[in-house]
């Protein structure tokens, strides 16, 4: 099957002032049909720049960029790829209906407009001016515009930024439907929960590089393993801590009066030792949330990730 996105050695540098910014610093990425991929990373990780390059909005400094086997602008002009952009992008004095009509007119053919309005929950808002729409409604409008050409690949840049909980939930519900229709979806986010809930694959970006790429649960597991907590008598806790600290599977260890907290890539081994010879009690084992993985991966060097 045809690869949707193919990036090889992608770099993008900006010359701003005295020091050039390396927004993207060597990315290799393949996205196949039907995939749902989260580009996860903090601000400045290179998410938006990567999406801009895939849309042909900016030229790569170096590297290979192919969208459906060709240049990005061709894929855009053919309506095979579309996007929901982060901010702005709408004419405030047009109505919702006029905006859809205008963008639809740029394509040779589109899906029936009433159907798209219905799918994005905009039917009742057709006559409302864009400036009177809430942030969530405007985002649904951008979503509708992106669906007009029935694209095979949909890029979403922080699609739920500024939405309230309810709007966010219904947005992702609508996106699930699109994924079920076989659309390939790549979204940039720094809401970790969104990657966990929605993406089957997560690409973790930091400092313009990919620091982890794989199934979302595997990225999480590989990144930071589990956290083991236990109660140890205050008279013995320092000795127990010393016994564990040197083990290769222990990533991080803290103590607080009679509580011991161990971050480890081998929770079974640590649990066995704590309940056995080390005499711990009230043991808890917790899988790290993606939030923890995220903090670990983006604040430590990539070599630590590879070793765990």
């Amino acid at each position: 099957m045809e690869t949707c996105i193919r990036l090889r050695g992608l770099t993008k540098h900006y010359d701003s002032g005295s020091t050039p910014t390396r927004a993207v610093d060597g990315i290799d990425l393949d996205v196949g049909p039907g995939e749902i991929v989260a580009l996860l990373g903090p601000n400045g990780a290179g998410k938006t720049t990567t999406l801009d390059v895939v849309l042909g909005f900016t030229e790569a400094t170096s590297g290979v960029v192919e969208v459906f086997g060709g240049p990005p602008r061709e894929a855009v002009a053919a309506g095979r790829v579309s996007a929901v952009l982060q901010t702005g992008g709408l004419l405030r004095d047009l109505t919702v209906g006029e905006t859809v009509e205008l963008v639809a007119s740029t394509y040779p053919a589109t899906d029936p407009i009433p159907k798209i309005l219905d799918r994005t929950g905009l039917t009742g808002l057709v006559d409302r001016q864009v400036q009177s729409c809430s942030g969530g409604e405007q985002q649904r409008l951008r979503f509708a515009l992106a669906l007009l050409a029935d694209p095979d690949l949909l890029l979403l840049d922080e699609p739920t930024a500024g939405m309230d909980v309810e709007a966010r939930r219904s947005f992702w519900a609508a996106m699930e439907d699109e994924a079920d229709r076989g659309r390939t979806i790549v979204f940039a986010t720094h809401y970790l929960q969104e990657a966990e809930d929605f993406a089957r694959r997560t690409v973790l970006l930091a400092g313009g590089r990919i620091v982890a790429d794989g199934p979302t649960d595997e990225v999480r597991r590989r990144a930071s393993g589990r956290t083991v907590r236990a109660r140890i008598g205050t008279d013995r806790i320092d000795r127990v801590a010393d016994a564990l600290r040197h083990l290769p599977s222990v990533v991080h260890l803290t103590t607080e009066t009679d509580r011991l907290v161990v971050e480890t890539s081998d929770s079974d081994d640590i649990a066995r030792r704590l309940l056995g010879e080390l005499g711990g009690s009230e043991l808890e084992i917790e899988a790290a949330s993606l939030e923890t993985a995220f903090v670990n991966l983006t604040t430590r060097t990539p070599s630590v990730v590879g070793a765990s």
Partner: protein, 253 residues
């Protein structure tokens, strides 16, 4: 051309009553006050009269206000993200410019038609060919000032660009021999300002090349190359400014 986009652009402008008033209503008002009402309006200028001379200027002022408004609006809306939204569609930059140019021409026609119609009923006089030729020159020449507005929009990067562009056109109209006739050193200065060539060429149909001497009321001969050079030079300057500012805007992104 994308006719849907063109039609929606016109609908947007029709909703903007305030801008429409300043584009069409204000020049018409200025003509009535300075051209139609005073006694000097009946003074002859070759085969026409002074009212006609003022009418052409006011219509031209309205036309450039209209096109510069379109230009600055285009620049501002592109910078506020609409350019990126359109970048997701097959619409090319050329296609976009075509829609905006057609919109600008259409909007520029409104003050010209309005002022000329009022002029026809309030004593502006000239042979029919003068009416037609001057209106055509005003309409075509006004497109240059879309670049003027575009440059303001690109430089100011906000809605204030529109006010700055149209406000400066008022000043340039006084400096450029448009609102009031100037002579002597003021006329020399006027020849270097952007609106001078445009309105002078439109008036040429009436005056045959002269401008009114404020001291004697006679016509001062101005050779054709002067307004022509003015229009060519300012079109080039505005085009270069727009290109430079577009490049600067792109580098910042």
């Amino acid at each position: 051309m994308n006719l849907t986009y063109y039609r929606l652009e016109l609908r947007r402008l029709r909703r903007d009553y305030v801008t429409m008033f300043f584009t069409a209503g204000l020049p018409a008002f200025l003509y009535v006050i300075f051209g139609a009402s005073p006694d000097y309006g009946d003074e002859p200028v070759r085969d026409g009269n002074v009212a006609m001379w003022i009418m052409i200027a006011m219509a031209g002022y309205g036309a450039v206000t209209a096109t510069s408004g379109i230009g600055s609006m285009a620049a501002v809306e592109r910078m506020q993200g609409w350019g990126r939204q359109l970048g997701l569609t097959p619409l090319s930059d050329v296609g976009y410019v075509r829609v905006k140019a057609a919109t600008a021409i259409t909007i520029a026609a409104i003050p010209i038609v309005l002022v000329y119609t009022i002029g026809a009923f309030t004593g502006a006089e000239a042979p029919r060919s003068v009416w037609i030729v001057s209106a055509a020159v005003l309409l075509v020449g006004a497109t240059t000032f879309a670049l003027y507005g575009l440059s303001f929009g690109l430089a100011f990067r906000s809605e204030a660009a529109g006010s700055a562009a149209s406000g400066s056109l008022v000043v340039l109209s006084f400096l450029g021999n448009i609102f009031v006739p100037v002579s002597g050193w003021q006329l020399t200065l006027a020849k270097f300002t952007p609106l001078y060539g445009y309105v002078s060429l439109a008036r040429r149909a009436l005056t045959g090349g002269g401008t009114i001497d404020t001291d004697t009321g006679d016509l001062i001969e101005v050779p054709l190359w002067q307004p022509l050079a003015n229009v060519v030079a300012w079109t080039a300057i505005l085009a270069v400014a727009a290109v430079v500012l577009v490049a600067r805007g792109r580098a910042r992104q």
